[in-house]
Amino acid sequence: MELPMDITQFYDIRFLIELGVFALFAVIIIGLSILTVYSRNIVHSAFYLLGSFAAVAGLYVSLNATFVGVAQVLVYIGAVGVLILFAIMLTRRTIMEESHG
């Protein structure tokens, strides 16, 4: 099958940029979610989860929903994420190896 030489004659260039940005965020979200589940270190899992939250916020902003994006950062990264990290911090002794200091 032969690809069309100039793809912009079928699609608007702005549509392609939007599609590219969406695909970028989607790949980041899916990749970080998989890492969250499969990571052996629970703290790294939490950071991957925070990264995927941030990518979701980016997705909202790219959809022209700035307020929802900023609310996502405030609620999910600033509050839920910190809560998760706080809970992990209270369970430190069982998961941290050979602390020096």
Binding site: V43, T66, A71, V73, L74, M89, H100, G101
Partner: protein, 350 residues
């Protein structure tokens, strides 16, 4: 004549290619903001050493540079840059390395939406702001809440129990004071009918320190706590936990974390001035009309900075349980009272 030959091609280009021009202007604004915040933080470090020295009957820096030790900061920066960059054995390497970067990213996010003064050109006041968002006050709150994550990353990545305790205290302090701080911002937004900081400043025909004195006090206390300065610096209490979450850092990584604290101090003062002290509002100064809003803005910011240093020089450190008690049992209810007050006053005068 010379000016028009420079200006005309630029205006033509902006008219022809608005998006590329916007991108270029954004990049220039980013460069300007990062230099303004860093130079400002250097100035604050010098000011703090000098004022604290005066308060404790010392001279402060007095030798390096021509006078008053002005080049002391440059000497310190060269020392930090040339120090060995060591990562402790047993540290969680990626987390340890990323912590100062995340800390600097949060400060730059805040700096992008804050107005950095204004210019009065022909009777119209133009605010100097890189990104004029509709919800900039809300955005600032969201970005400030990310600071706790940088503190956690530094404390965890170091793999040291003192760092961990410092991060623990730091996060407990930050989350208990972000709630009253956010409610204070909401009160200001209710009174100004806007979440845009530029519009909040323009709405302050009466400064909000007069309209909401309680909110000002709460915001000031919450700000000092968020900055982690005396009397709320439990996260780096040197007698108990060495230096908190910066214990294991050295060289330029420590320098970044240290500088980020001072940049946050500058940003917090600017935010306080915009929300409660009327930003760049003030009577026009006759001869230098263009710079008059800028001068008012800088005078207020320096006043707030000197006040913060004064507080540091006068008070002693609280215990961490006293700090969280104050946050949840006093400031949170009082900030709700202030919100009710703001709504009532806003309804009455609207």
């Amino acid at each position: 004549m010379v000016l028009s030959t420079i200006v005309e091609p630029i205006t033509d280009f902006v008219a022809q290619e608005p998006k590329i021009a916007g991108l270029i202007i954004g990049l220039i604004a980013a460069a300007i903001i990062s230099s303004v915040t860093n130079v400002g933080a250097m100035g604050i470090v010098w000011l703090e050493r000098k004022v604290l020295g005066d308060m404790t009957n010392r001279f402060g820096p007095s030798r390096v540079g021509t006078r008053w030790g002005i080049l002391q900061l440059v000497a310190d920066a060269i020392k930090l840059f040339t120090k060995e960059d060591s990562i402790p054995r047993g540290a969680d390497k990626p987390v340890y390395v990323w912590a100062p970067i995340v800390a600097c990213m949060t400060t730059m996010l805040v700096a992008a939406v804050l107005p950095w003064g204004a210019l009065n050109i022909g009777g119209v006041v133009y605010p100097l702001v890189a990104v004029n968002m509709d919800i900039s006050a809300f955005f600032v709150e969201a970005a400030l809440s990310l600071m706790a994550i940088a503190a956690f990353m530094a404390g965890w990545g170091s793999n040291n129990k003192y760092s961990m305790l410092g991060a623990f205290r730091g996060i407990a302090r930050m989350i208990s004071y972000e709630v009253p701080m956010g409610i204070c911002v909401i009160s200001v937004a209710v009174m100004a009918h806007s979440l845009n900081i530029v519009e909040i400043v323009e709405a302050q025909s009466i400064w909000y320190i007069i309209a909401q004195p309680l909110g000002f006090v709460i915001f000031m206390i919450a700000l000092i706590t968020d900055l982690g300065r005396v009397p709320f610096d439990q996260s780096e209490a040197e007698e108990e936990i060495i230096a908190g979450y910066v214990t294991e850092y050295g060289g330029i990584r420590w320098g970044l974390l240290y500088f980020q604290e001072y940049i946050t101090m500058l940003l917090g003062s600017v935010l306080l001035v915009h929300l409660y002290l009327g930003g760049w509002n003030g009577p026009t100064i006759p001869v230098i009309t263009i710079l008059s809003p800028m001068i008012w803005f800088l005078m207020k910011v320096i006043l707030v900075l000197v006040f913060l240093i004064w507080v540091r020089g006068s008070l002693i450190r609280f215990r961490i349980d006293q700090v969280t008690d104050l946050g949840w049992k006093w400031l949170l209810p009082l900030s709700l009272v202030n919100l009710v007050w703001a709504v009532a006053i806003g309804m009455y005068f609207a």
